[in-house]
Symmetry: C2
Subunit: 445 residues, 2 copies
């Protein structure tokens, strides 16, 4: 057996049907295209499972039934190759869609040169994540990741539809910026022509400014954090869903956030039923309103549970796990954080000399999903808070100057898309919720 | 007259109506919020035009009709301040919506401290673009820019709806990358932890890889080019609409692109009729199919027109202007470019030893909108083209290795959102099609 199978250009060939569209009743000669998910060779009969973006179709080549030279060609087809098949559809109960194709012509567009180091069927992978990420585009052919990214698509569509109904306008703010938003930690520096600049950690100051002109804005875009830790829940580049709303406070935007999450869950249930079935997954229960715990109450609870935690400390996932409270297993808010723990633009409350601020974190179990607050909308208060946090107001000149022109009261939040995906579909490693993850060790592919 | 008007927090106050929702028939007491677009003081009667995201409403304070202390307060209201008004609606033919509000309470949320250096009414601005950009959030309160960005929103929504109908999946690829896509020119370097990295000039190689798993992908996201020129049509950071499609060639994606543009134009006409009326704008005529000129024919024409241009040269906007051809005023394609002028991943044609390649630029008059092509889908051909262009295949190891696993034939394009906006709404300076432009001179705000 030689190298009979040659690589062809696409030329004038075009697919006439997707796999999932093929039913035994077609009967006609059709052309399907895709990649080879599996080949089973039983000597005188050969089964090729061809996969495309919609599903699978079985190609059955039988000695004697198809041309001898074609049968020899079919025997050379290798897994992962990109091929096209022209042939007739006939009923086959045991095959996907209840149909199979009897090939009349096979064209290889690109022949796989190596065996892939992992299988594409099944939910779990037998190899480590780094082996998969090194060959990510092939890894993404796995059914499991197909479902993950189809659900991710629904999540994003659902967010846009929800915010559109709430009359938000979508914006894009610059990712190359002159000044760190929240101090200098965890920034990636850039050479910007002859100057130093940074990659934006969040669209925070821009989205706040934009409430002056557009009132309700949202952005779905990349954020960059030079995160030094190696964990299963941090990325150096992530997608953030950021909103900001004029004439609103943190209560208003918490209400938007919880209703948005409910809307996402309902939309995924509706549009991704097949994926949820394949993943054997039930989405988290969501009921309005989400439970709200004040930071102070939570510290009391944690102290009662024996944790060595003080008022003013951060609440880490490790610490949260010590609370054996069922209501803390799903989505809930921690509100009214110490002012000292939050960035300068967060509005301190009016009670107690502003010791706590109008802020919230949305949690899912021990995992932080989102952070939001009422913002300060007056220049003198902003300058005061900057100075208290050791920031130089001069560095924020371009930001502060717009506060001379009537910035409305406003509030907003940032929601991590990848974290939300982890919560929704129980992905263990955040790297599998993004196509090409970036972390301290990984910059490629 | 002292400083009677004090700044209030939002507190429990909430807007009960948007300006545009107010009709003379309401009659009730309502609360409106927004910013002060203008104040006209006629001594015993004062008109405040309040603007919110939906429109304008007139507040009329008359001495004797409203409380004396309230009248004094109203006299202190300054343009651009962020305020809320509680009051009764009554008919007023001469006012926007045919209604005005008689104030019972005025609350200032943030008082403007300075007069803005430009007017917010009218289409044209009387000050230079740099003055406006230095105070961009205030500039964006101009009616003109409001219309521009509402149209931009429709363009993006329309693109997503169109590509969704064509069964494309939206993806996000990394913006921090290890290797330059098309050689080393015009890249922004980053410090990536302890390594050098770059900002992505395009999602090119990622979107190509993703056709292996998802077939049809698109991305709408930022691209970064260290563009050294100071022109009205270049930005250092822009939004690119990128698509890639499996089992397709450049003819197929040209067809997608022209139908997408037609769909955008129709959608803007439908959803932004008011904005187009305010801008006194007719969108460009679009008729399918768009004219196609081969590069070689165009060079002939240009030579006939007396231009000193050789086969193999780039076609610049300056050169294109010398062709006095009406059909070249709108959208048209230039196809079949010399292989030497295009990046390594563009597929050479089969004729003439591959002297021309399966490529196109979409033009609007002299302005390039989009660039696309059939791509090479085989490793050996890619390596050969890389070497010919002086690139080191080793630097592309992570990319090339996926070509061992059956990359389908594919084609795609990148379309510059800001350039498209220039074409659609005749904006002279590309900086006005983006919220916070970046160029060689500008990194803030």
């Amino acid at each position: 057996m030689g190298d009979l199978l040659e690589e062809h250009d696409l030329g004038q060939w075009r697919r006439t049907h997707y796999s999932s569209e093929i039913s035994p009743s077609i009967g006609d000669e059709i052309v399907v295209m895709g990649w080879v998910a599996s080949v089973r060779d039983h000597g005188n009969i050969l089964f090729i499972i061809l996969k495309d973006m919609h599903g699978e179709i079985q190609i059955t080549a039988k000695k004697g039934e198809c041309d001898d030279s074609l049968f020899e060609l079919a025997k050379e087809v290798k897994e992962h190759s990109s091929i096209g098949i022209r042939g007739k559809v006939r009923p086959q109960e045991k095959a996907p869609n209840g149909a199979e194709i009897v090939p009349a012509e096979i064209r290889a567009f690109s022949i796989a040169k190596k065996a892939a180091p992992f299988m594409t069927q099944g939910k779990t992978s037998t190899v480590g994540i780094d082996t998969r990420l090194d060959l990510r585009a092939v890894d993404l052919r796995r059914n499991y990741l197909g479902s993950v990214f189809r659900i991710r698509q629904t999540v994003l569509n659902s967010v846009r539809e929800f915010l559109d109904r709430q009359e938000f306008i979508e914006v894009n703010t610059p990712k190359m910026i002159a000044t760190a938003t929240e101090g200098g930690a965890a920034l990636f520096p850039i050479f910007y022509y002859d100057r130093e600049a940074f990659l934006a950690q969040s669209p925070q100051l821009y989205k706040e400014q934009l409430t002056m002109a557009f009132e309700n804005v949202f952005e779905i875009g990349p954020i960059f954090r030079a995160e030094p830790s190696r964990t299963n829940r941090h990325l150096s580049e992530a997608i953030s869903i950021d909103i900001e709303r004029a004439f609103a406070d943190y209560g208003d935007v918490m209400s938007i956030l919880e209703r948005m999450i409910v809307s996402i869950v309902e939309t995924v249930k509706e549009r991704n039923a097949d994926d949820l079935k394949f993943l054997e997954l039930e989405l988290p229960a969501v009921e309005l309103p989400f439970p709200k715990y004040s930071y102070s109450d939570l510290i009391d609870k944690l102290q009662e549970a024996g944790e060595h935690i003080q008022w003013g400390d951060d609440v880490t996932p490790q610490v949260m796990k010590s609370l054996q409270d069922d209501r803390l297993g799903g989505f809930y808010f921690i509100i009214d954080w110490p002012t000292s723990t939050k960035p300068f633009y967060v509005k301190p409350g009016s009670a107690d000399g502003g010791r706590v601020c109008e802020s919230f974190d949305l949690m899912f179990g021990p995992l932080e999903m989102s952070s939001g607050s009422t913002r300060i909308n007056r220049k003198d208060q902003l300058v005061e808070r900057m100075s208290k946090q050791g920031l130089k107001p001069d560095a924020f000149d371009y930001h502060l100057r717009v506060f001379d022109y009537g910035v409305p009261p406003h509030a907003g939040f940032g929601l991590g898309l990848e974290r939300l995906m982890m919560a929704l579909i129980k992905v263990e490693n955040i790297r599998d919720t993004t196509l090409y993850p970036r972390d301290i060790d990984r910059l490629a592919p």
